[in-house]
């Protein structure tokens, strides 16, 4: 049991015509012993390739992977003491559940047969699949196959679990159930787990920490709430959270009364301490999460209030998702701003409202690089400060 370290690992695929594709570009992550790390990102971001390099299924173009102090770059997959759960479950169709689960122990250890049988039964008991031991995968439902795949990994008692989108083939209800169960199992077993997903709900709810990748590069590693409240850049801010953060491009302007962010359809004054964080004469992107936007009837009166027209309302029951256009002229079409409001409040589409964008909740990103220049204040926003 030791820390797993990814040190600047890179994967370059060479295509048949000589083109080089950088799938993973200098990713460094320290994974603590017993940690549940989620690798998340849009498809093609290199998260699966990273996982496969840890597994030893893909060679590493440059950089090191260490287990403790030992570099395992050239250790073949079978000697890495790693178990993996695949998206397709990858069960052996001609073997019973019992044989599927015994296979790894038979191949990788010289354990006695009765010891293997005992372990398999114990694990099957824990996973609630003891009554399926003599069936073949083809006779099992998707959820049951999923449990067998997990059981097959768990029975080997590896030092690291790797999971490649293991829940994506399940229906929504079962997926939610298995999400909780996987977390419970991981806590019980206390085995380091690296979990790949494209689903940001899974990333937010399951991981001790989340590593967000885009285009082969690591964008941010942190606890889910860190990534949510203190995104390192615009990509992370937009990727984490549903519906995603609103972005408005602005220009920073100094006025006698203080700094102002000038957008197409409104001016947004900002406090001096925020302005101090911004480089001079820059074009920062203003970010605001939908749930931080307040909507009220009547005309704008305060400093950070802007007139807007409601375009579409999507009632979700517990909340309404409101698509807004800035300005009170509904014929002018720009990029919609999304706000979520309480499900009990009633608004009409086409209605002119006032949008309040609280200064404490805004994020500012560099217009060119996307780096976060200012993140929201947490103390002022709500009295219950989430622990990061």
């Amino acid at each position: 049991m030791a820390q797993t370290t990814l040190d600047n690992i890179t994967k370059v695929f060479t295509e048949d015509d000589g083109n080089e594709i950088v799938a993973v570009d200098g990713v460094s992550i320290d994974i603590d012993d017993g940690e549940f790390l989620v690798l998340v990102g849009p498809s093609g971001c290199g998260k699966s390739t990273t996982l496969r390099m840890i597994a030893g299924l893909e060679s590493i173009s440059s950089g090191d992977i260490r287990l403790g102090d030992r570099v395992i770059n050239d250790v073949p997959a079978k000697n890495r003491d790693i178990a993996m759960v695949f998206q397709s479950y990858a069960l052996y169709p001609h073997m019973t559940v019992r044989e599927n689960m015994s296979f790894g122990l038979e191949e990788s250890t010289d354990m006695a047969d009765d010891e293997i049988a005992r372990r398999v039964e114990e694990t099957a008991e824990m996973m609630g699949i003891a009554d399926l031991l003599d069936r073949k995968p083809g006779e099992l439902s998707g959820g049951q196959q999923q449990r067998v795949a997990l059981g097959r990994a768990i029975v080997r008692d590896p030092s690291v679990f790797l999971m490649d989108e293991p829940l994506s083939n399940l229906d929504a209800k079962l997926r939610a159930e298995m999400r909780t169960e996987l977390q419970r199992l991981q806590e019980e077993l206390d085995t380091t787990t690296v979990y790949v997903t494209h689903d940001q709900t899974e990333a937010m709810t399951m991981g001790d920490r989340v590593a967000i990748l885009d285009d082969g590069r690591l964008q941010q590693v942190g606890t889910p709430l860190e990534c949510y409240h203190r995104p390192a850049n615009r990509f992370v801010a937009g990727f984490v959270g549903e519906p995603s953060m609103n972005f408005v491009e602005t220009t920073l302007r100094d006025e006698p009364g203080g700094a102002v962010l000038e957008a197409d359809s409104f001016d947004y004054p900002i406090a001096d301490e925020i302005a101090a964080e911004l480089p001079e004469s820059s074009n920062p992107v203003l970010g605001i999460r939908p749930e931080d936007i307040e909507i009220s009837e009547g005309a704008p009166s305060g400093e950070h209030e802007i007139a807007a027209t409601i375009d579409v309302i999507e009632p979700m029951g517990d909340e309404n998702i409101v698509y807004l256009q800035f300005g009170d002229d509904s014929s002018v079409r720009g990029k919609s701003i999304i706000a979520t409001i309480d499900g009990m409040r009633r608004f009409e589409s086409g209605q002119t409202v006032t949008v309040h964008v609280p200064e404490s909740a805004i994020h500012l990103f560099d217009g060119a690089s996307g780096e976060a220049l200012h993140n929201r204040r947490l103390d002022a926003a709500d009295s219950q400060v989430p622990r990061l």
């Binding site: 997959a77 993996m84 052996y92 191949e107």
Partner: protein
């Protein structure tokens, strides 16, 4: 009232539907019966011819059965006597060559499909090229190779008699010629196998050869049935290699196809009943192999 009308309407519709249904069925069965007759007539004619005496052969239509006094099993007994030596020889080289083709073909396909290494496409191209080499073009080099370079009867003279050496040559030749097509058949199946499953086995600690034995081999049993039937029939019926490598009907290693080619030929004319009996006897083993593997065969061709 309304109910009756509705039900009456439905009956009419049903009848119309069943009329049409019956017509297609009648057509289908007519076609099936026609095809069955078309395919069975030669077999039936062959069979009735084989049990006719020479007189009955002249006096009856080819497909008509002989009368009670025109029937005889004499030709069958004679054909069996003449062919028994060839049947044994053919079995001796066909069975090992078939098994070797299947086993080596499956291993090659596994190595070329489910194991990742540099240059495997080039090697696979060589295998594919092997399928397209016409037999005629290699007959002379092949005979020279065995008689002038390999010289098995000479080199293994202490262990094998000369006709056993010939049979060994046939086993090796047929195996070598069968491997490409078998490899391709197995490869087509292995390409459909889940790559993740193979990777799972690798992570489970299995070596390349253990993955083959414990995962790939058990999953390719239906394809083995396909290859067994196909290769057995190919090698059993093969004539050109027998003719060139064995050479003479009188050779102790003569195969059944070689003996059959001369069976019933004489200066006074062709003995058709004898030839028919010989042909049917020679065809029997392929029929038996097909029946043995039919279940798995059906499963295998579905892949």
């Amino acid at each position: 009232m309304t109910d009756e009308t509705v039900s009456a309407g439905r009956t009419v519709a049903d009848e119309r539907l069943s009329d049409r249904f019956d017509l297609t069925r009648v057509g289908l069965y007519a076609a099936l019966v026609g095809l069955t007759i078309f395919y069975l007539i030669p077999v039936q004619s062959g069979f009735v011819t084989s049990i006719k005496t020479s007189e009955a052969l002249i006096n009856t239509q080819p497909f008509a059965p002989p009368g009670p006094d025109g029937a005889t099993v004499e030709k069958w007994a004679f054909a069996f006597d003449a062919l028994s030596r060839g049947l044994v020889n053919s079995l001796v080289f066909t069975v090992p060559a078939t098994i070797l083709c299947a086993v080596l073909g499956s291993m090659a396909a596994y190595g070329l499909t489910l194991v990742d290494w540099r240059g495997q496409v080039a090697v696979f191209v060589l295998f594919i090229a092997g399928i397209f080499i016409p037999y005629q073009s290699v007959v002379i080099p092949l005979t020279q190779f065995w008689s002038q370079y390999a010289m098995l009867d000479h080199r293994l003279g202490l262990v094998l008699s000369s006709h056993q050496a010939t049979l060994l040559e046939l086993i090796i030749t047929h195996t070598a010629y069968g491997i490409p097509i078998c490899t391709m058949l197995f490869r087509s199946q292995y390409k459909t196998m889940s790559w993740e499953m193979i990777e799972a086995a690798r992570l489970d600690g299995a070596s390349v050869s253990r993955i083959y034995r414990r995962i790939v081999l058990p999953l390719s049993i239906p394809m083995f049935a396909v290859v067994f039937i196909f290769q057995f029939t190919q090698i059993w019926n093969e004539f050109l290699f027998s003719l060139t490598l064995i050479g003479s009907v009188n050779d102790p290693a003569a195969s059944t196809t070689l003996i059959l080619s001369g069976l019933g030929e004489a200066l006074e004319g062709v003995d058709y009943p004898l030839r028919m009996a010989g042909a049917l006897i020679t065809a029997l083993p392929t029929l038996i192999v097909y029946l043995l593997f039919a279940d798995k065969f059906a499963e295998g061709v579905r892949v």
